[in-house]
């Protein structure tokens, strides 16, 4: 990308806002977002990320983007993961290990069923929407 002008920045913001809202990342309509702050990584977020990629590959699921984010503040239940699938509420899972990651793909992404006992609430509403 080259340097942009004010106009281009505004255009870029609009475009990306749409994409972020629809969560439409390069044609993928679902997203698995792994919390990769120091706390998450120390609790094993890297293994979890790898497991997601592995299971999605095994199941030949191609509409799910796996991305990273920072700390959500739920350090006591790290690693944390947010799962966004169309038609389902955006869900935050905590205490996710490789086995739970596998379960999330099988049950939440494929079966459209929440995985019980690992759901946590986002600690705050989003001020961008307020």
């Amino acid at each position: 990308m080259a340097k942009i002008s004010l106009e281009e920045l505004r255009k870029l913001r609009e475009q990306k806002q749409d994409a972020l809202q629809k969560r439409d990342l390069a044609g993928k309509d679902s997203q698995i977002i792994v919390g990769m702050g120091t706390c998450g990584i120390a609790a094993g977020a890297k293994t979890v990320l790898d497991e997601f990629l592995k299971v999605l590959d095994e199941e030949k699921i191609e509409n799910v983007a796996v991305t990273q984010t920072g700390c959500m503040g739920l350090c006591y239940v790290e690693p944390t993961v947010e799962v966004i699938v169309p038609g389902m509420p955006a869900t935050i899972y905590g205490k996710v290990d490789a086995a739970v990651a596998r379960e999330i793909v099988k049950s939440h992404v494929i079966g459209k069923k929440l995985v019980t006992d690992h759901i946590y609430d986002r600690p705050s509403v989003d001020i961008m929407k307020a």
Binding site: K16, G37, M88
Partner: protein, 595 residues
């Protein structure tokens, strides 16, 4: 097929103890009975951070938040909400009541947290500038560069009433104004990311989760004061934060949001990273600037203040990471918006790193004026393992303890000072009945004695002497006169130390002595440590009535100081015992106790 509704039942410890399991079972039963079992999924979740109002049930996608739900309510919830689609008003959380803390109108208040600084942490990919831009990133910079004069920018900070989050709480606009008003061809902007407080990690998490917010804010400051160069001073112990900053800076430069002629405005601004070796004193602003210039990190007397004469004798604005992260939002939404959040004394929010003996440790961001009780019990879920709350240390090694008496004090700059603690950077360490307050004071003082740079006498010698006295007390050799000596040295250190490290390091001692004087006296007069922490003052004893003579403890003891024959009560040789506590954990019969 996806479900029509999802019912989330809190399965956290607090709600569990108020029959949330029963609620869960009843809901399943009712869904079954009323024939909607395959239209709703009912799941158990972790703590919603609202335990005081538990048990909590949340129904999606409507986002209805039900509190104090009883198992008997299951029938109505299914019949009304799920089948007829009408919320059960009686059980909904009263949003009006919660609105008293933060007055920004249209926010759902059942969540006590309000995130300005952490607005993007956990939402965006910090290594993708597009996601930051999509969430109004660099919109404040646009405004600052094209629509605002330096005076306008500073005026907005003044209206906002933003005060520094690095510890001292100095009004940010004033600092910027000092620098702006000094004539100088070269000026600097510095971000203090040294974060040396034990237990604090909010600055690290902010940089890891949202590095662009700091870059954007520093550039805005550059425009406001007329600086073209910024430095971020960050400890080398934060490799991930450094990496994310480097990625963010590279991406900003590529888009021309950093560097020459930003967005075609003609304004230049660049930022460099400086790594610190991780000395606590290097977080003190004058020492930090020395360190950036390549000197040994030691404080120098103020005035002149950095805002007037800082790096290479040039005007330098230095702010804390959290202070910076607030600025793009203030410029974008306006100072007025910001000034409505919080209480009268302090505006905006504060991020705390909640750690220690708490159920839900983590990063929390709350409006100023929230009470400690809300943080500990609602957000933190209360004290871990059902123990009793004793105190919270705020302000790290410069602060003091807050006891249960003051749990309802609003947390803001003024109120904390009034009760003898301080905001500090935002570490919040929760202590329970098992913590010895003399030991806690010793821990913090030990830290500051280690970290003192040694430049001035009151801090270098005073701290060490005070530590020696505390050790004497925890060894059971203290006298009542020692308490007076501690106070005397503390007063001298407060008055005569050069920097705030020395001036504030007696605070934990003075504060624990004030609120827990009886514990000091127990150590000195009774030669006892009530919490059972100070090794020299406790002994492990076996109750012969309870001991079955199983020999388990004797086999585990690392120094073999337990003797006795099989099926006969055992005894511990106190002269050899190292008080490691292994035996107490081993005994299945609860025969060993601390005395």
């Amino acid at each position: 097929m996806a479900f029509r509704n999802y019912i989330l039942v809190c399965g956290g410890t607090a709600c569990e103890s108020s029959r949330s399991q029963q609620i869960f079972d009843n809901l399943k039963l009712e869904a079954e009975k009323q024939g909607v079992a395959d239209e709703v999924q009912i799941v158990q979740t972790g703590c919603f951070g609202f335990c005081e109002q538990g048990p909590i049930v949340k129904i999606l996608p409507e986002d209805s938040f039900y509190v104090k739900v009883a198992p008997e309510d299951a029938h109505e919830l299914i019949a009304e909400h799920i089948i007829k689609g009408r919320e059960v008003k009686r059980l909904l959380y009263d949003k009006e009541k919660a609105a008293k803390h933060a007055q920004v109108e249209d926010i759902k208040f059942y969540q006590k947290q309000f995130r300005i600084v952490l607005r993007n942490c956990g939402f965006i990919d910090p290594e993708n500038i597009n996601e930051y831009i999509a969430r109004d990133g660099y919109a404040a910079l646009e405004k600052a560069l094209f629509e605002m004069t330096p005076e306008d920018i500073i005026e907005q900070l003044k209206i906002a009433g933003l005060r520094g989050r690095g510890g001292a709480g100095f009004p940010t606009w004033m600092k910027w104004n000092f620098s702006k008003n000094v004539e100088s061809d070269i000026k600097y902007v510095v971000c203090n990311a040294d974060e040396g407080d034990p237990g604090a990690y909010m600055d690290r998490s902010t940089l890891e989760g949202d590095p662009h917010s700091v870059l954007e804010a520093m550039t805005i400051c550059g425009k406001a004061i007329g600086a073209h160069q910024g430095f971020i001073y960050i400890r080398a112990e934060y490799p991930l934060a450094i990496h994310r900053l480097e990625v963010a800076m590279a991406q900003s430069k590529e888009l021309g949001l950093l560097g020459k002629d930003i967005l075609g405005s003609g304004f230049d601004f660049d930022i460099e990273i400086r790594l610190g070796a991780g000395a606590f004193v290097c977080g003190e602003e004058t020492a930090l600037l020395q360190s950036i210039m390549g000197h040994r990190g030691m404080p120098v007397p103020r005035p002149p203040f950095p805002a007037v004469k800082g790096l290479w004798e040039k005007p330098t604005v230095i702010n804390n990471v959290e202070t910076w992260a607030n600025i793009p939002v203030i410029i974008h939404k306006g100072g007025e918006w910001f000034s409505k959040i919080g209480d009268e004394d302090s505006h905006g929010t504060k991020v705390f790193a909640l750690t220690g003996k708490i159920c839900n440790s983590g990063l929390v961001e709350v409006p100023m004026g929230t009470t400690l009780r809300e943080i500990v019990y609602d957000i933190g879920g209360g004290i871990a393992h059902g123990k009793k709350f004793k105190a919270v240390q705020t302000g790290g090694p410069s602060g003091g303890v807050i006891t249960s008496e003051n749990l309802d004090t609003p947390i803001d700059f003024g109120s904390l000072v009034k009760i003898g603690s301080m905001m500090g950077s935002g570490g919040m360490i929760v202590m329970d009945e098992d913590d010895c307050m003399v030991d806690v004071a010793k821990f913090y003082l030990n830290f500051t004695v280690d970290e003192s740079c040694g430049k001035c006498m009151p801090c270098r010698i005073g701290g060490k002497t005070m530590l020696g006295i505390l050790e004497k007390i925890t060894d059971g050799k203290g006298t009542m006169k020692d308490l007076d000596t501690l106070t005397e040295i503390a007063n001298t250190m407060r008055k005569a130390s050069l920097c705030a490290l020395g001036q504030t390091s007696p605070n934990p001692v003075m504060s624990t002595m004030k609120f827990f004087r009886d514990e000091y006296i127990a150590h000195i007069v009774d030669k006892k440590c009530p919490a059972g922490k100070c090794k020299k003052l406790i002994s492990y004893v076996i109750d012969p009535a309870k001991c079955k003579g199983c020999t388990a403890c004797a086999r585990k003891c690392p120094v073999s100081c337990i003797s006795g024959s099989l099926k006969q009560p055992h005894t511990i040789d106190q002269t050899k015992c190292i008080k490691c506590g292994t035996c107490i954990q081993t005994c299945k019969f609860g025969a060993i106790s601390i005395q």
